[in-house]
Amino acid sequence: MTTTTERTAQTTAQRDVQTLAFAKALTLGMRNAMAEDPKVLVMGEDVGRLGGVFRVTDGLQAEFGEDRVVDTPLAESGIVGTAIGLALRGYRPVCEIQFDGFVFPAFDQITTQLAKMHYRSRGKLTVPVVIRIPFGGGIGAVEHHSESPEALFAHTAGLRIVSPSTPHDAYDMMRASIASPDPVIFMEPKGRYWSKGAVDLAAPPAPGVLDTARVVRSGTEVTLVAYGPTVATALKAADALAAEGTSAEVVDLRAISPLDIPAVVASVRRTGRCVVIHEAPSAHGIGAEVVSRVTEEAFHHLEAPVLRVGGFHAPYPVAKLEHDYLPSVDRILDAVDRSLAY
C-alpha cells in the first residue's frame, strides 16, 4: 500500500498519516471499506483490469476479484439499475460513472428509482448505492467531459450529494458515503485528482462529514463559499486578497445536499459579505440556494448583496475557451471588489 506513497509522519497505533494524491485517497477509501465489509462492490466501465480511466479503482480487482470489482457493459442506466437491485439484495455497490457528461442515461434510474425507493416503501427498503462522478473542467477535455451537473441531482429529494476538496476529505467522505444507508452522489473534482495532501488512514470517518461544511481559512471581511474544485481557487483568491489587505474567510461546503446553511450563516454574520463560487452555471444553481438562505437568515448582517461566481448559461465550451468559463481567481476578486464597493 505504501510503495507508491510517501510517508510523512510516524505511524502510531492511532494515526497513519500519509501524503497521498487525491485519487489515491479515494482508492484507499474504497479499498478499506471493501476490506471491512464483504458486501461492498465496485462496478463501472473499465474499473477492473484497467483500474478506471483515471485509475481511481487501481488494484481493487486484483485484490478483491471480479465478483466484487465488476467491469460492466457500457450502459450507465444498466450500471445504476443493477446496482439498485444489488442493494435490494443487501449489497453496497459503488458505481463509477466514467465522466460527468455520461451520467444522463442513468438519470432516470437515479432520480425516479434510487432516490425514491426508501420513501415509496415507507422505509422498508434501503438502497445504499454510491455513484462516483468525476466532474468539472480545467483539464482540456473534449465535449461532455467537463461538466458540473450536481444541481440536477440536488433538486431531487432522497439523494445526498457531496464533493470533497482535499485528499483527507476524499478518503473520509468515501468511507462515510459507502457506510451511509442513503444513496450518495459523490462528485469527484477530477482536476484535483493529482493534488496531494495528508491523509490519516487510521482515523475513523469524522462524524457528520456528509452533512457539514468546514471553514478552511479564517477571515473577517468577506466569506467565500465553495466546494470541490473551486475550494482551491477560493483559497488562492483569499491569498491574493490578503496581499491587498482584505481578510477573506473560505468555507468548504463539502455537502451539497444537505447544505450546511448554519455554518455559512455563522460565517456571514461575522464578515457581512458573501461570494459563492462553483463551476456549474450560476443560473438556477446551488449558489442561488445559498444566496437565498443567507439572505433569509443573515439579512441584517449583510453589508452587500450576496454574489455568485460560476459558469455561464451556455453549454460547457470548447477547451480553448474553458479558462473564460471557469471561475478564476480574477473573477472572484472582481466579485469581492463589487461587494466591498457596495
Partner: protein
C-alpha cells in the same frame, strides 16, 4: 385477424382454446412438466384465476365509486400470471410491473394492500420481504434492471447451482409489450446474458400499450429478440395456464442450476382498458375483443376441468363464495384505509437525518399549529 406484429406461430400450447389437451412431439418436454399436476392442483389454479378476476372487478367498481384514483385491470391475463407464479419457489423473488395482480395473489400479497397505491394512500403498500415481491414499478422497464441486479446478488450469495431446490434462487421480472421498447430492457438483457444471471424475463404481450398495438413496437416476435443476446427464448400461449406454468418452470430450472436467463413471451390479451382512465373504443375494434373473449383463459381451464371429470358443482359454489368474501372484504377495508398522517409526507425521505427535510418538516408543523390556533 388481429392486427399484430408477431402472429401466433410457434406458441407453446398444452391446452387449445376449447380446453382440450394438445399433444405434439414439440411440447413433450412441457407436458412432462405438468404431468404431476392433479385435480386439486388444477382446481387451485382455477380458483386463483377466479379470485384474481374478482379482485379486478371489485377494484374497478371501487374506482367508479370514487374510492380509488385509478386502477389497472389484469383481466384476460390471469393464466399468464397465475401459471407463471405457480412455478416459483418461495425463495424466488418477483419484480412486478403494475398489473400483476394474479402473481401477487398467488404470492400472498394482501388484496387490500395491493389497492393502497391505487387509492393514493401509499406509493407501495406491502413489505417486499414478506412475500419476496418488490413493490409495483410505474416507470416502464426500470424494474427489469433492478431484477437483473438482484439476480447478480443471488449469484454472489452463492445460491445458484447448489443443487438444493430449497436454496437455489432466481428472479422473475414481469413487463409488457410496450416496455420492450425501453432501453432499460435492452440493458437488462445484456447484463443478465453476460453474467449468466438467474432471471426469468416474463414478457406479457397483451397486444396493447395503451392505444399502441404491437406493430408500433416490433417487426418480429418479441421472443426473437432474446436470441440476439444469447438468451434462450420461448413463446407461449399466455391464455393457457398449463403452458405458462410449464415454460416458467423450465426457465426457473435453468436459472436455478446456473444456466442463466430466459425470455418468455406470453402471448395474451388485455381484455379491459389500460386503466380506468382509458377508453379502448377509440382505438380498437369490437371484433378483436370478441375474438379474444372466445379465448378467455378462465373458460379454457373450466372446459378442461369439465372434460376430465374434475369439475364439481359443490366445489365451484365454494369458489364463488370465496370470491364473494374477497369482494366484500375489499369493499369494506379499502374504504376504511383513510389517509396517512400529514407527517408521512416527510417520513423516510432519507434513512438518516437530512437538514432540509428536518427544517421544512418543523416549519410545516409550526405553520399547521398556528393555522389551527387561529381558526
Amino acid at each position: 385477424m388481429v392486427d399484430q406484429a408477431t402472429g401466433e406461430e410457434g406458441l407453446i400450447q398444452l391446452l387449445d382454446p376449447v380446453g382440450a389437451r394438445v399433444d405434439t412431439p414439440e411440447n413433450a418436454g412441457y407436458r412432462a412438466r405438468v404431468a404431476h399436476l392433479e385435480g386439486d392442483d388444477l382446481r387451485a389454479m382455477y380458483r386463483d384465476m377466479v379470485l384474481t378476476r374478482r379482485f379486478d372487478d371489485e377494484a374497478t367498481a371501487l374506482q367508479r365509486q370514487g374510492e380509488l384514483a385509478l386502477f389497472a385491470q389484469a383481466r384476460g391475463q390471469e393464466a399468464a400470471q397465475v401459471g407463471s407464479a405457480y412455478a416459483l419457489a418461495p425463495q424466488d423473488y418477483v419484480f412486478p410491473s403494475y398489473r400483476e395482480h394474479g402473481v401477487l395473489h398467488v404470492r400472498g400479497v394482501d388484496p387490500v394492500d395491493r389497492l393502497r397505491l391505487f387509492r393514493g394512500q401509499d406509493h407501495g403498500g406491502w413489505d417486499p420481504a414478506e412475500h419476496n415481491v418488490q413493490l409495483y414499478t410505474l416507470v416502464l422497464g426500470s424494474q427489469v434492471l433492478h431484477a437483473t441486479g438482484y439476480a447478480m446478488g443471488i449469484q454472489r450469495d452463492g445460491l445458484v447451482g447448489t443443487g438444493d431446490p430449497t436454496r437455489d434462487a432466481a428472479v422473475a421480472v414481469y413487463f409488457g409489450d410496450g416496455t420492450t421498447s425501453q432501453g432499460d430492457v435492452h440493458e437488462a438483457m445484456v447484463f443478465a446474458a453476460v453474467n449468466d444471471s438467474p432471471v426469468v424475463f416474463y414478457l406479457q404481450n397483451n397486444q396493447w400499450a395503451i392505444s399502441e398495438p404491437t406493430t408500433r413496437q416490433a417487426k418480429v416476435p418479441f421472443a426473437d429478440r432474446g436470441l440476439g443476446y444469447g438468451i434462450p427464448s420461448v413463446r407461449v400461449d399466455g391464455n393457457d395456464v398449463l403452458a405458462c406454468y410449464a415454460v416458467t418452470l423450465e426457465a426457473l430450472e435453468r436459472a436455478h442450476s446456473g444456466g442463466g436467463p430466459t425470455l418468455i413471451e406470453a402471448f395474451t390479451y388485455r381484455m379491459g382498458a389500460h386503466t380506468t382512465s382509458d377508453d379502448p373504443t377509440r382505438y380498437r375494434e369490437r371484433e378483436e375483443e370478441e375474438y379474444w373473449r372466445r379465448r378467455d383463459p378462465l373458460e379454457r381451464l373450466e372446459a378442461l376441468l369439465k372434460a376430465e371429470g374434475l369439475w364439481d358443482e359443490a366445489w365451484f359454489a365454494a369458489v364463488e363464495a370465496d370470491a364473494e368474501v374477497l369482494a366484500e372484504r375489499i369493499r369494506t377495508e379499502t374504504r376504511e384505509l383513510g389517509a396517512p398522517p400529514t407527517e408521512a409526507l416527510f417520513e423516510h425521505v432519507y434513512a438518516t437525518p437530512h437538514a432540509t427535510v428536518a427544517e421544512e418538516r418543523a416549519w410545516f408543523a409550526e405553520y399547521e399549529d398556528e393555522t389551527e390556533a387561529s381558526r
